[in-house]
């Protein structure tokens, strides 16, 4: 009887071990990953003072300067890799949900003051995903246990907008 039990325990252990599914190679924009993916196309000349360009998403379009801090994911992803020319593929891991503004943020070289007091001088909107039927409005993206592909948009260094464009007055 003990032998049977031992064998059963061994079989159970082997069964558990056999399910050896650790992390696996995951192509960008894998169908089972919660993320948005797409291609960004760069236009204009990259400013000399560029520290980086990163993409974030907002569950609701910001209604105030304070709302600008409610972006996802947090901490923000690293900058897109250089060179900022031509086009490149990106993936933005996000929790399931609805995102009203997928935006590229240009970051100028420099440190933030406490409370982001100097954010106006360091950050600019450099492009965002647009509604396919109304290109002047942001496009809505829904993430639900799978990637949303083809969230493509343009990053235009010649047409960037400081925060005060959205939330005046400008300093």
């Amino acid at each position: 009887m003990p032998n049977r039990r031992s064998r059963a325990a061994l079989v159970a252990l082997v069964g558990v071990v056999a399910c050896n599914e650790g992390l696996q190679p995951t192509p960008r924009c894998a169908p089972n990953a919660a993320a948005i993916c797409g291609r960004v196309t760069f236009q204009g000349t990259e400013p000399d003072s560029t520290e980086g360009v990163l993409i974030v998403a907002y569950p609701t379009f910001p209604q105030s300067r304070n709302d600008l801090l409610s972006f996802q994911p947090f901490p923000p992803p690293p900058s897109l890799p250089r060179p900022f020319a031509g086009s490149q593929f990106y993936t933005l891991p996000l929790r399931n949900g609805r995102y009203e503004w997928v935006v590229a943020v240009w970051k100028k070289v420099g440190a933030f003051a406490p409370g982001f007091g100097n954010a106006d001088t360091l950050l600019k909107e450099a492009g965002f995903y647009r509604d396919q039927t109304n290109p002047t409005a942001p496009g809505v993206v829904v993430v639900h246990d799978s990637s949303s592909d083809s969230v493509n948009f343009v990053i235009d260094f010649g047409n960037m907008h400081p925060i005060c464009t959205y939330f005046p007055p400008c300093p």
Binding site: V16, N20, T26, F89, P114, G115
Partner: protein, 730 residues
């Protein structure tokens, strides 16, 4: 012939016995190989005699029916019922068969004094030097990791889910080295490489709030690393280590064109005389690491000296120093932050922002203790200690550094008044300071100015144990006063009550309730830096976090081969300190009220095959962060619900084989990078050993299945590693 002789010997008292209604019982006790045993012979439950060197015994017993029990350590006792008439004599020869002797371990941490494990009111896990030595490892944590209810998250220890993961800051577990607090003075974390592995005799892990005796940091438990006693005579040991890391299991993850290796050497020598003893250890190791930018060099030295001026007095001075120089992998590469080869993430490569990061970390301690047993009723210990850490993080964006000291003194007395009572009383003080450019308290996080901060702690404690019949009752409390930069901060009272109730049928029950606390570390209070451009701002007003812990446990011996230990635990924690994101900045705040409840179960078996020992340990943890402000109740981050460890070792002669399997369920919640893929942890370690005279060869295949996982976000856990040690002992 021997029977005749014994019979003749029995004749003399026979007549007298007859008159008093007694009889004579005589015979012998031997083992299965007919070797005599000096066994204890009991009659009707009372010790009657001890067999002589030839295994012979003779005793007078009451006439009538008597129960005889014959016992000898390491053998199964024999019970025999005999009936003998008054004035008669009876010969009985007993054969004892070997049995596995389950000796009660003695521990010193749970009550700040020596106790049998079965007499303590809280759960204690032990990691012996055998268990440490079985594994070809380099630091203590790699062995402690397999203890029941203990889990390491990227080097940060969790006892029943106490600490979670906050990058080493503010451990909720107190580390002791031979009873001396050894958490870092500035960050409150633990340096597991502080004590050379070769010097470790055992590790005691006390679970649950331990602040009633140990004060701050013992919120979730206490880990006491106990170093080896210095034996008499001259001894030496040389241990060489070599190993290789597996390549990534998928070609698309390959990150280097050579096989990573590790190698090391430790040398220990000791000499013990009657009055003076000393030991010294030195060594180092190098590792290429198992991922990008993961090389490490480690150097260490440790010494211990003892003066024994009298049989009741011992003066011990010990110290160690270790230096690490290691590349810092930071987080792994996600798409676009390295040559991602079309992958969403590359777990073996690092994010470009971490390139060039490098850390040098030096740490050491020096402690002197004086122990004296003044009388049968009073013993005392006095100690002084100094711990020092010095780290520098070399980073492309600017270096961070800190130099911290922690000075401590303690006086403790152990009083044993008449009447089965023991009282432990003591007073403790510590002073910590840090000079740093990161834990400055500066309101400008971009500033690199250096500042100094300090923290003082004063405490007094007392705990008494009273025995009523077989029941042990324990009550005690400790009061701590904390003071930061010269200003009073808080006074904390940490009481504890407990009871131990041995029963004949259902083992030894234990129950305890106690309060624990942790003072915020200087780092949590004064950190001022930028993380990915986000300011991390200081919070000088942080208060200590506190917790009430309740435990009900039972340790039972089901047979000579199977033991169990089970405990239900419940912890309610208040004002837990966690990094909080608010208004575009990160700050440590007292925000979280949490509840951690669950079950610990450990089963140890030595049957059914001779030489085979196995353990199963399982922890179920229900860890919830309770609702506060606008945040709803949710799982507490970085706490697995299920933690299962299976271990088995088989020893036949000089050859031993064994293994561990650890299953940790997928974390319900992490605090950063929540959208990243997470998997359960399933790690199988295999080991083998062989002994030839003075030489011992041990090999370990850690993570034999090369299971790829991360315990904390974007940080690859160790891959398959084959390591071997060869030890020469003189």
């Amino acid at each position: 012939m021997r029977s005749l002789l014994l019979g003749a010997l029995a004749i003399v008292p026979l007549r007298a016995a007859s008159a008093q209604g007694t009889a004579a019982l005589y015979g012998s006790v031997r083992d299965s190989s007919s070797r005599p045993l000096r066994a204890v012979v009991r009659v009707n439950g009372h010790p009657a005699t001890v067999a002589d060197t030839q295994g012979r015994f003779r005793l007078s017993v009451p006439a009538g029916r008597v129960i005889v029990r014959v016992s000898f350590l390491g053998f199964q006792s024999v019970d025999d019922t005999v009936t003998v008439a008054a004035g008669d004599s009876l010969e009985r020869d007993y054969r004892l068969v070997p049995a596995v002797a389950l000796l009660q371990p003695v521990i010193v941490t749970a009550g700040k004094r020596s106790q049998l494990l079965s007499q303590v009111v809280t759960s204690v896990a032990l990691v012996t030097d055998t268990e440490v030595a079985r594994r070809a490892i380099t630091t203590v944590d790699e062995a402690v990791d397999k203890a029941p209810g203990v889990q390491f998250l990227n080097g940060q220890v969790n006892i029943r889910g106490s600490s979670g993961y906050v990058q080493g800051l503010g451990s909720r577990v107190l580390m002791l080295v031979d009873g001396v607090p050894a958490n870092q003075g500035d960050r409150g974390g633990i340096n597991w490489d502080l004590v050379p592995l070769e010097d470790v005799a055992r590790v005691e892990i006390v679970k649950g709030a331990g602040s009633a005796l140990y004060g701050s940091a013992a919120l979730g438990g206490v880990v006491n690393v106990i170093t080896r006693e210095i034996p008499s005579g001259l001894h030496a040991r040389v241990r060489a280590l070599g190993g290789v890391y597996a390549d990534p299991p998928h070609d698309i993850w390959k990150f280097r064109d050579y096989t990573g290796a590790q190698e090391g050497l430790d040398v220990t020598a000791s000499y013990g005389a009657d009055v003076v003893r000393g030991s010294y250890t030195a060594g180092g190791w190098h590792s290429d690491g198992y991922r990008g930018q993961d090389r490490r060099n480690h150097w260490q030295t440790a010494g211990k000296a003892q003066w024994l001026p009298s049989p009741t007095t011992r003066v011990t001075t010990s110290g160690s120093w270790a230096s690490d120089q290691y590349e810092t992998p930071l987080i792994w590469c996600t798409q676009g932050s390295c040559d991602d080869r079309g992958q969403a993430f590359q777990p073996f490569m690092i994010d470009a922002s971490g390139r060039g990061a490098f850390t040098r970390s030096d740490k050491g301690y020096l402690a002197t203790t004086v122990d004296q047993r003044a009388s049968e009723r009073f013993a005392w210990q006095a100690r002084g200690s100094w711990g020092r850490t010095h780290f520098t993080d070399f980073q492309p964006a600017g270096d961070d550094w800190g130099v911290a000291n922690r000075y401590g003194v303690e006086f403790r007395g152990e009083v044993r008044p008449p009447g089965d009572r023991v009282v432990t009383v003591g007073a403790e003080g510590s002073f910590s300071d840090v000079r740093t450019n990161i834990f400055t308290g500066d309101t400008n996080p971009a500033s690199s100015v250096a500042r100094t901060h300090d923290q003082r702690e004063f405490a007094a404690y007392a705990e008494g144990e009273h025995r009523v019949g077989t029941v042990r009752l324990v009550a005690g409390t400790r009061i701590d006063h904390l003071d930061v930069d010269g200003g009073g901060l808080a006074t904390v009272l940490s009481p504890r009550l407990g009871v131990v109730l041995p029963t004949a049928r259902v083992g030894v029950w234990r129950a305890s309730v106690g309060r624990g606390f942790r003072a915020p570390s200087l780092a949590e209070r004064f950190v001022s830096t930028l993380v990915q451009g986000i300011p991390v701002v200081p919070n000088p007003n942080l208060r200590p976090e506190t917790a009430w812990s309740v435990e009900l446990g039972d340790a039972a011996t089901l047979s000579s081969a199977v033991r169990t230990d089970a405990a239900l635990f419940w912890t309610d924690a208040y004002d837990l300190i966690e990094p909080t994101v608010d208004n575009g900045r990160i700050q440590f705040r007292n925000v979280t009220r949490a509840r951690l409840a669950g079950l610990d179960l450990a089963v140890t078996a030595t049957a059914p095959v001779a030489g085979l020992s196995s353990t199963l340990s399982y922890t179920f943890l229900h860890a919830r962060q309770l609702a506060h402000d606008s945040v709803p109740e949710r799982p507490l981050a970085f706490r697995p619900t299920h933690l299962l460890t299976l271990s088995a070792d088989y020893q036949r002669g000089a050859i031993g084989v064994g293994g561990d399997f650890r299953y940790t369920s997928r974390l319900d919640r992490v605090e950063i990078y929540e959208a990243d893929p997470r998997v359960a942890e399933k790690v199988l370690n295999l080991r083998a050993s062989a002994v030839w005279g003075a030489w011992t060869l041990r090999a370990q295949l850690a993570n034999a299945l090369n299971y790829i996982y991360s315990q904390v976000p974007r940080t690859l856990a160790p891959v398959r590693t084959l390591a071997a040690t060869i030890t020469w002992t003189y």
